[in-house]
Symmetry: C3
Subunit: 258 residues, 3 copies
């Protein structure tokens, strides 16, 4: 069975962490497969939004499978090696051109939380649970894992999560800025799809530029004149003609991605 | 009719986006006038707080007037040219020495939201509505427009707003960190004035220093010894004598700005 | 009477601002003593968490004792000199290897708020009150004082606090991100201790690494390969063996700090 599945519904792709008998606990092959899935989907021009979720509704993912520690992560050298796979995947998700929405059912902990933090939006159910209790294992969240969490919730909340190691509920996750919105458990899939649809109905080049700009603004180097001027490439796109005409006609636009 | 009005009430100035028949939609001359208003007021030593608002109570501003696209923003070259006016204005508001409070009635969308994000505090009414649905037009929010929004609410929420393009209510705006506080619709003017009064009653040089320091701390370059020592210039001001004496006398201080 | 007290309960130390007759208002000797206390405790390997609190339950601290202004802070040169003591203390708290939890009863204002902002977590009671009304004194919060506040709540909220100078309640402090959590007034000590216990029960090296990593991520310089690889030192610790064995045995781990 393929433990990373890709499903498609027109312009929306869904990447599934598919190991439901283990609550979608991540293994090294899954990390690799997850990164490859995002890299491949990122290259496709016809995709406008990617949903990432766990199989079933019991868990997004509880993080890394502890069973691998004995063989794959038993010392520093192995840890570095395994970590490189995780970081490449994190970089592949972060670099994805298309907007990413995490559909979170149930448990979203440790490495699962890290994957969710790499998405652009996070929709969860009322009974979802969050945390990163790795202090109980004697392990740290390395820079490449911690940075997206700090980016999302700030240094202080990220540190609270790691120092206390509590598992907390959806409401606290929202108060902490970890999730974009909470819906009833049986509405998580519908709200995620509606969100993906809202995103996919916008001009796709615009979504990609906004992702790219948001990332660039995280770099303190001054924006150059060339970069500033490139923000106006949108005025020469076919989609601007379409959007403008639709606005005047009071019709919803149908964008082409050109 | 002047589409950017300046009103004064002693040490508080109010800048009004004054095009109520178009819900205060911004035109190029208005952007220019807005920047000139802030530059002029910034230079005045007797001003202690600036309120920025739209005329009437239906809207702060819905953003740029779409009617201008046909003639002023129909391609990349025009977009760059128009954008330069917007960015100069954004820089003039951001560089204003005096504290700025946005008084938000009704619609605060797109370019209107960008103006509000450049203020230091934002007071809105319960029925205010927010958003930046430019993905429907096929246009992006350029770096200079997006940066104040990212500064205000963080990268993730800024991106959510731009990718989904939803219009959302005051409560969600507050949850997102977009507004400082919400009051009943008929209290927006009174609370804004009370806020401006609280600010204006403080030592004016202190307010200017705090604005300058907050901005400087956004620059990751280390603070120099000279900069650190300049933080103590306040101890040689007349206003410190006044503030200290008032504290001992248990009286409210009356600062002179010296 | 020693105005900075250190109490110990096994692996948890409590630093007390001990001037209850003055609501624990800070004096220059107290700033020095506070920094020295943190520097000394930081060096102790057996400490796993530090609580910082004011004596009694009326106040954490209202900030600096105004009485000192006449003799110690009456002009710029004295202000710089006094400030150096404050900043050294702030640097000593920030550099502390061990997690720090602020236990906040009552008033937490000005310099008191600055001390609380330097802690990693902040637990307060429902009747706690916060603010930094130094604009009424004609004085500024210097860069070294303002930076931890900006780090904690962002530039916009820090500026709101300083420009308006309002004193606000615990709920608003939590909404602003100033406090980690609010409990009933008579539960502040118990919840702080439970939090410190959760932290202290984790692997101590992990807590120290997480603090160090969180701080490092505030520096925009790219993380080097050497730094990234050092994140895996945890895999060679005794505590990882202990944590992993405890996980498999479904027992709580008892870490040694090695």
């Amino acid at each position: 069975m393929n433990e990373i599945l890709i499903e498609r519904d027109r312009d929306i792709a869904t990447v599934i962490l598919n190991r439901p008998d283990k609550l979608n606990a991540m293994t090294r092959p899954m990390w690799r497969g997850l990164g490859e899935a995002f890299e491949a989907l990122s290259a496709e021009d016809d995709i406008r939004c990617i949903i990432v979720r766990g199989a079933g509704t019991r868990a997004f993912s509880p993080g890394n499978d502890i069973a691998e520690f004995a063989t794959e992560r038993s010392n520093k050298a192995q840890g570095i090696d395994y970590g490189r796979d995780m970081y490449r995947t994190a970089a592949q998700i972060a670099a994805c051109r298309h907007p990413v929405v995490a559909q979170i059912h149930g448990i979203c902990v440790g490495g699962g939380l890290e994957i969710a933090a790499l998405a652009d939006l996070r929709i969860c159910g009322e009974s979802s649970r969050f945390g990163a209790p790795i202090k109980n294992l004697g392990l740290v969240m390395a820079y490449a894992e911690m940075a997206p969490l700090v980016q999302l919730v700030g240094r202080s909340i990220a540190l609270e999560i790691l120092l206390e190691g509590r598992i907390f509920d959806a409401q606290e996750a929202r108060d902490k800025g970890l999730v974009t919105r909470i819906v009833a458990d049986d509405q998580v899939a519908a709200e995620t799809l509606a969100t993906a649809r809202r995103i996919a109905d916008g001009a796709p080049l615009v979504a990609r530029w906004h992702k790219q700009f948001a990332r660039r603004l995280g770099n303190p180097a001054p924006i150059s004149d060339i970069e500033n001027d490139a923000c106006f490439d949108c005025f020469d796109t076919e989609d601007f003609r379409i959007g403008y005409a639709a606005f005047l006609a009071k019709q919803p636009p149908t964008f082409t991605g050109h």
